[in-house]
């Protein structure tokens, strides 16, 4: 900043240097504080949400919540038992559909695919996982609900499966890539066919990581509401057939939250508490698997 370096100006120069050092340090401190402030500003509303869910949820939850279906408006009590069971049914079916597709697709990408086509598929999977889930709901509506002439649990599960596939595919592929080639080669050298090697050696070595991916995918769809509105639709009662509309916990939270009744709001908070605790349990388990997986 100062190009004059002649001997008669050393004092001036030292002073400017000192001042600029002071300014630089002050700037450093200010920016550090701002960044710390950003962290607090981010955690504050999130903490607030968490506290409210805990407070409102714990004060409204009861044994009834887990045992009963919603009561008609105006009657106190009732629960979301049908929603919880419905969610489990939907997630179970979605997993049956989505997980095999994701895992086998990932095996293709990591074991067989040419690099160009793999890149295309990988890219499409990433793009697919960014598509708003309400669009997935609309597509499944016109593909399944319209031809089957009715909202159904099947359609809901199918929509959730579409959301799971890219997540499972990408995480599984990353895990398979980390398995050393020498393991595959050792198995092949023993005369084990490639497909058995892939299943029994490659996939198995990556199992903890793959499990993490599956748990994360389940956690993601467990809270999905938008794709279920025009597929599973929701149900005030128990549903006995997969071709009928079925209740789901997030759908019930939604419709109870926007209703103008305090009783229903209480049920929505209790439902939110159950959902959040489930999510946290899932992601903590996923983290645990992820950690043990990396150590090996």
């Amino acid at each position: 900043m100062n190009t004059m370096t002649s001997a008669n100006q050393p004092v001036v120069e030292q002073r400017t240097a000192l001042r600029s050092l002071f300014l630089r340090n002050a700037k450093n401190t200010i920016m550090t504080l701002l960044m710390g402030g950003a962290l607090l500003a981010v955690l504050f509303p999130l903490g607030l949400i968490f506290v409210h869910i805990m407070k409102m949820g714990l004060s409204s939850i009861s044994l009834d919540f887990f045992l009963h279906i919603p009561r008609p408006t105006g009657e106190a009590g009732g629960g979301m038992a049908n929603g919880m069971v419905g969610s489990m049914v939907l997630i179970g079916m979605a997993s049956l559909l989505g997980i095999p597709v994701g895992i086998f697709g990932a095996i293709y990408l990591s074991e067989y695919g040419g690099s160009r086509i793999s890149t295309v598929i990988r890219f499409c999977a990433d793009v697919l996982s960014g598509i708003p889930s309400i669009i997935t709901g609309m597509v499944v509506y016109s593909m399944l609900v319209v031809p089957m002439k009715g909202f159904s649990a099947l359609a809901g599960a199918f929509a959730l499966a579409l959301i799971m596939i890219p997540i499972v595919l990408r995480t599984t592929e990353e895990q398979l890539k980390m398995v050393p080639i020498s393991l595959r080669e050792a198995s092949l050298a023993l005369g084990v066919p490639l497909w058995r090697t892939t299943l029994k050696v490659t996939l198995r070595s990556a199992l903890t990581g793959v499990t993490t991916g599956i748990l994360l995918a389940i956690a993601r769809v467990a809270g999905e509401t938008a794709p279920l509105i025009f597929t599973a639709l929701g149900n005030q009662f128990w549903s006995s057939k997969l071709t009928q509309p079925i209740a789901a916990l997030p759908l019930q939270i939604f419709s109870f939250a926007i209703a103008p009744y305090d009783d229903w709001h209480r049920l929505a908070w209790a439902g939110a508490l159950v959902l959040v605790v489930t999510m946290f349990a899932l992601s903590l388990t996923a983290r645990y698997f992820g950690r043990t997986g990396h150590k090996n």
Binding site: Y112, G130, V139
Partner: protein
């Protein structure tokens, strides 16, 4: 990395064998991704054809949304989606980047790791729960406390005028901001972690303060990755349905004031699609869906390209 992956592309012999069948199954499932994507595009286009035929380009500029008169124009929804997402991103980006920088560059490793996992855990909260909190806690607070205050001190601006309903564009922006911050933070954090140590060491060795190191060595290196993270956040915000639907007021009106209720593209789909009154009504909603799909496809493709250019083959993309 590319050498390693290239060297174990197994080739199998032709003919019907276990290997052949197994590979065929994997091929089928891998290509199903492409099929799903194509099918989605096809369905959305073919279902919105009646609306495309009737309204064409006017659909995007039309202001009326009248199911009885069968007049459909999507401008209020496009406006609502764009304004709410962009404002949310403007608020969220500095917070998210600051948080990611604090976690990776400043905090002691243990504290940083703790904060990071907290943020990540909160990113997993479903949007309907943000909506529940938004409608039962945040909007009453906005109506009774925040909006009167804003009106008192900033009421001369056109953005803070009109009656305080609570449910409003402002509520939508705030809830979206809260929701996208964790996403942008966690991707930015990964991007920053990928900046080589040597970059930082070089800056420090030249006598840079920590902020100067961040500004001169870390941020320029992670620039495209951070941009990718922000664009990905934009994609999330624009497609976000439940939470926004619950707090934004659902009124197809274009107003400069953040206090007035608005409507977004996903919200109108969520509210009206299941009970569309006529084939043209549902086609118009499909048309909005198609617009949304195209916008998010472009946004996501752009974000992924930026993130991939940052580090090819890294495990980053898989996380979302």
């Amino acid at each position: 990395m590319s050498d390693v992956t290239a060297s174990h592309r197994w080739k199998i012999e032709k003919g019907l064998s276990g290997d052949f069948i197994f590979k065929a199954v994997t091929v089928l499932f891998a290509f199903s991704i492409l099929v799903i994507l194509m099918l989605m595009l096809y369905e959305m286009v073919s279902q919105s054809l009646p609306s495309l035929r009737k309204f064409g380009g006017h659909f995007m500029t039309g202001m009326d949304w009248d199911a009885v008169q069968e007049q459909f124009g999507a401008l209020p929804f496009i406006y609502g989606s764009v304004i709410s997402s962009v404002l949310a991103l403007l608020l969220a980006t500095p917070l998210a980047v600051g948080t990611a920088l604090f976690i990776t560059e400043i905090a002691p490793r243990r504290l940083g790791g703790f904060a990071a996992s907290l943020v990540e855990l909160l990113a997993a909260i479903p949007s309907v729960i943000y909506g529940l909190w938004g409608i039962l806690i945040m909007t009453p607070w906005l109506q009774q406390t925040a909006q009167p205050l804003l009106q008192k001190y900033l009421g001369f601006l056109p953005f803070f005028q009109g009656p305080a309903y609570g449910v409003s564009m402002l509520a939508g922006v705030l809830i979206l901001m809260i929701m996208v911050v964790p996403i942008i933070t966690s991707i930015t954090k990964e991007v920053l972690l990928a900046v080589p140590r040597s970059q930082r060491e070089a800056a420090i060795a030249l006598g840079a303060t920590r902020w100067e190191m961040i500004r001169m060595a870390v941020l320029p290196y992670g620039k495209s990755g951070i941009l990718g993270a922000v664009i990905l956040g934009l994609g999330r915000a624009i497609g976000e349905t439940m939470a926004v639907t619950m707090v934004i007021g659902n009124n197809p009106k274009i107003s400069l004031s953040l206090f007035s209720p608005a409507y977004t593209m996903p919200s109108v789909i969520a509210n009206e699609f299941a009970e569309a009154s006529s084939p043209l009504h549902s086609a118009a909603l499909m048309n909005i869906g198609l617009l949304l799909l195209v916008i998010t496809l472009i946004i996501n493709a752009l974000a992924r390209l930026l993130l991939w250019s940052m580090s090819r083959g890294a495990a980053r993309g898989a996380k979302l």
